[in-house]
Amino acid sequence: MSHRRGLAGTAQRKQGKVAHLFLLPWLLGLVLITLVPLAASLYLSFTDYNLLSSPNFIGLGNFSEMFSDVRFWHAVVVTIKYVLISVPLQLAFALLLAMVLDKGFHGTSFYRSAFYLPSLLGSSVALAIIWRQIFGSDGIVNSILSVIGIGGTNWLQNPATALDTLVVLNVWTFGSPMIIFLAGLRQIPREMHESAEVDGAGPVRKFRSITIPLLSPLIFFNLVLQTINAFQAFTQASVVSRGTGGPVDSTLFYTLYLYQQAFLNYQMGYASAMAWVLLVVVGLITAGHFFASKYWVFYSDGS
């Protein structure tokens, strides 16, 4: 008996060795590509570092500078506006289309793939360049508007509308949350809808009392994910504004300002501090989401 236990233990240990060996490349990547740069960034956030000379420790100097940096606060406002408008719109649109696709009709597979495509392209440089053309003074949007007798503008050069074009771009990449919602909708038992109908519930009541509560875990998941993504948005703002965050800083995302400070202003220490502030803020917001979720997210195990 103990001999058999001994043999089993040896086999297990051997498997463990192999598993750890397979984990080693990933661990190396985690250390070299994530943890070491993270630690370096944390150190640099307490230094005056211009990339061209050695870092010079200045304590909390970078963090205190943020309080008086007018453009920093402007970037914060622009980013928060972007998050608060584009994330709910994107999720609402994704849910709407998921519900349409859930009806099931001829060609659903094709539409599902077609609606998912923008998600793949959304953060690409190529699409951002095309977006500039679409919303330019001679772009497709103005061409369509002129057909119906509305005079267009250069949407990207108008501070009142430039950010809106980026919101539209983010909403347009609804495919990823839509697929998740669609999978969730398919999980809702049809009997629940049928028995609600028997009890006289209309579509709105069914949506509010059955669909939303049962879908709430996935809504929560998408909300957290898309909020984090929106805070980190960079490519679209950089390409559409040609790296300036203009016009007049109306598209100056936090990450874009961080990039400008690091690589154009040679203020890598200050940029590192900004990165850590972003990390903490996004972490706090995510924690807030988790805290609030106990009031509106319902899991099938009753929690």
Binding site: L27, L28, N56, P247, L264
Partner: protein
Amino acid sequence: MKELSRRTLFRATGLSAAALALAACGSGGTDAPTKSAGSTSTGGGTTGQAGGASGSVRYGFWGSTEREQLYLDAFKSFQSKNSGITIAPEFADYGAFQERFATQAAAHNAPDLYWIASPQVMTYYKNDLYYDLSSLSDLDLSDYTSDQIESFKLGGTLNNVPQVSSTPIASYNKTFLDDAGLAISDADWTWDGLAEFLIDYSKKAKGRKGIAYNANQDLSFEAWLRQHGQMLWTEDGTVGFDTDGIGGWLDWWEKLRKAGAALEPAEQDGVDMIWSTAGSKAMMIFCGVNEMVDQAPVFPKSDFELRTLPVAADAPSGWMFVYYSRIAMYKGIKDSAIAAATKVLNFDLNDPAMIKPTLSIGAPVNPRQLKAAADTATPDQKKMLSVMVDVGGQKQNPRYEAPAGTSTWRDDFNRTIESVALGQSSVSDASKQMISTLTANIQKAKG
């Protein structure tokens, strides 16, 4: 075999990571530059060269794909005559080049020879990125006068050499002008006179405006300041203009824009106009004389001419100036690469094969190359050369490079102009804000 536990695995990971990091720090790239003892902001210092002229020389530069090809062809020519030396080009678009160079410099791995953007000249000098070229006994500057060489120095040290020169001009589409039945007169070639002419043109031209809104053209702005008794930067590295100086410039542009004589920023894809958009809508732009050479071919059906900028009635003599684009050797270059890099630099500055590529940037600074360039220049390039020869012969008051901390002064300038043109700020407030921002950045860079 000893059991592989989690503890052992993590220990192995940490040791492997450390070994890889040490290997990466020790291999490839160039040596980290070292400051001489007691130095604070020096631009050069390491002397001497070792080894024969062979090996690979990294050459960093920027521009269009056409320029890249011209340089690659010239490098091929060099390499065919110098079989032991390979030039490794590191080319990128202007913006991307600056950002990449910053990262390379941070890694102590900048190219052996590299072009210097004008806002960065003093920043790189302050951070000791320049090799002392006067220590290179094989460097051939025999074509330059001693006064020229003296004028190239920063802090008394020859740490970079201007390759090309440029000056601001007014470039105009003569075809557009002829279509409107108008001609530019020499009689009132002042700022006010030009403004009136542009307003008149815009009224008569069908659907076109007099000038693109390029108030952000930095060389023209500098010319304006010099004509009004001010300068862009002072010798001691401070802002050389006041609110009246920049305010007058912005007022001139706003007058044109409000009169419909200058494009709106929305019509030209922003304050930093896109030429292919603006060039079809406006008759005139201000630009560097070298830029006109690239811009003209975009509209092949139009004939472009150029003039020097208008002159204020009370402009002091010597307001004209020449802008230099410079090349330097990296302070941290490997000793073994110095001799080869010196040969490449000599080729870059002196060899006739470099005339054509150099003309893609501006007029050669080398007097012999400048004379020879006329033989191979295109008609537009000949116009450029003619202007540079003319300006070069005029009196020029001193001019100073942008101080450290002003790497993004053009972006600040763009934002200032945007805020005025889009009605977000008055000229007065925008001018004060810009001067305040530049001053703060300069102070911050001083440490």
